[in-house]
Amino acid sequence: MKFRALMQDPLYMRELQNIIATLAKLAKDCIMILGAQQMHFIVNEDQSSTSSPLVWVSIAARDYFPEYKMEAARADQEYIVLTMSSANLGRALSVLRGGGVNSCKLKLQRIQFPCITVIASVLSTSSTEAREVVHDVPVTIIPASDWPTYVVPRVPASQLALSLPSLRLLRSLIDKLKNVSPSLEFQASYDGELNVVATSEMSTVTSRFRRLLPRFLSADEDREASCSVDSRKASAFFGALQLANEELTIGIDREHSIHLQIDVREDVVLHSILPAVCA
């Protein structure tokens, strides 16, 4: 079993750092699935007991890593599957935030236990030579027999999808609305209107977003769809986002779920699913 990846582009390093920082805000543990071409991260794969939503990120390895080597434990296996503390991984990568990083290496190795070692070569102001900062993030290797419980989730089939140009107002709004009501109803129409409704004993709050970009409409449905979701989960998702790219696509699978998608770049995508709740 071998894994080694090298990053050199400061932009990608910062993006990866932002992605991991987002995941670290959402859950204590994260799953890392290393494939030959892609790297996936999943948090809250078990949705039962948490107030945070299921979120996963898929990264095309060739985009981020000029050097990327993955050898599974056995020749017939396609992946290496690991779990680790998302806070530790976040802290190990936080060195990439400041800039002045020449390169960052990730590698899987065994010290006293298996670790993803993050080695950053950092330029300092006090010296011409780079400093080496090393973090050993302890990981648990998931045996192939357990892989079926750690699969990359599938994007649900929405009836309707709209795209929101800016998350700024929506983020603050949802954060406040979670205090009004435990559930939020998202009502979307293909005419580009999205209403977020929160109802409490004392008040009803209806927030309206107009002139949104229609993205998708399934052929056999009418032009409207709505779904109620847990407001804490919604708020946790929006509150955790650390990405600079704030364009969001919101898909509604009536009665089932809301699918949120952020395209960081073409082959780097963050997804979340908010399951429906009784309003």
Partner: protein, 271 residues
Amino acid sequence: MEDHLEDYKFVSRLDHVKTFNAAIKSICFNDYAMLQVSDEGLRITVEQGRSIQATLFMPPAAFTEFHVQDFQSFGLKMNALSECLNLFGTADCSVRMLYKDQGDPLKIILYPYDDEDVSTECAIKTMDSEEPIEYDLNLKDSDLNTIFVRGPNLSKIFHELEKSAEEFEFITSPDRPHFKITTIGIMQAVFSVEVAKTSPMMMMFNCPQTLVARYKSQQIRLTNKAMQAATKVSIKTNTLGLLELHLVMQGEGQEEIFVQFYVVPLLNGID
């Protein structure tokens, strides 16, 4: 979706939510509020027990638009109102307030300036109104000590008062210390702060007699948020020790919102 405006007994508009929001937040120390609207303006009163009362007052001039039929009065949940005004956080919004008739909700609609495609409408349930307590502090009374202070300076002083103290003692006096607050009930230490009447933060100082009174620190701290938002504060107190803080908050459009606190002194604190 929009009703006709003439159906409403109270219609008003504010260009900027910020100061109104700050003023509402600053008196949000109890959940039930009494709201009264008349030709004189809008008045919202919050009380806690019988020892502290806060009233927010906005004259019609503070609004861009203000129409009212007769005298309207109802009760509502302060938290619901504050939550609504705060929905867009720090983003600047204009606000419209609408009220049809007894039993109908108070409607508040926020329009953020930086995205004209976004708006939020809140319908807050209203309840039967109660009558606020009348605290009479006769302004013509000769035994009244009055101080006008610049808000930010006074806010800083209040803010720095030791938080672990149980009581604060206020002294206002024609002689030194002209204005002094002492914290009481801290282990191993006593803190006090005094401001000379000649201090540049004093806009007016008229204290014909020495008055000493003690207040619950927790009640004085309820005025902190209002103090932070105030540009000017008048402090008035009489021989009974009843304390009136009258604060002026200035909006972006120079409109003025007033918040008035009455704080009842502790019995043992009266000289």
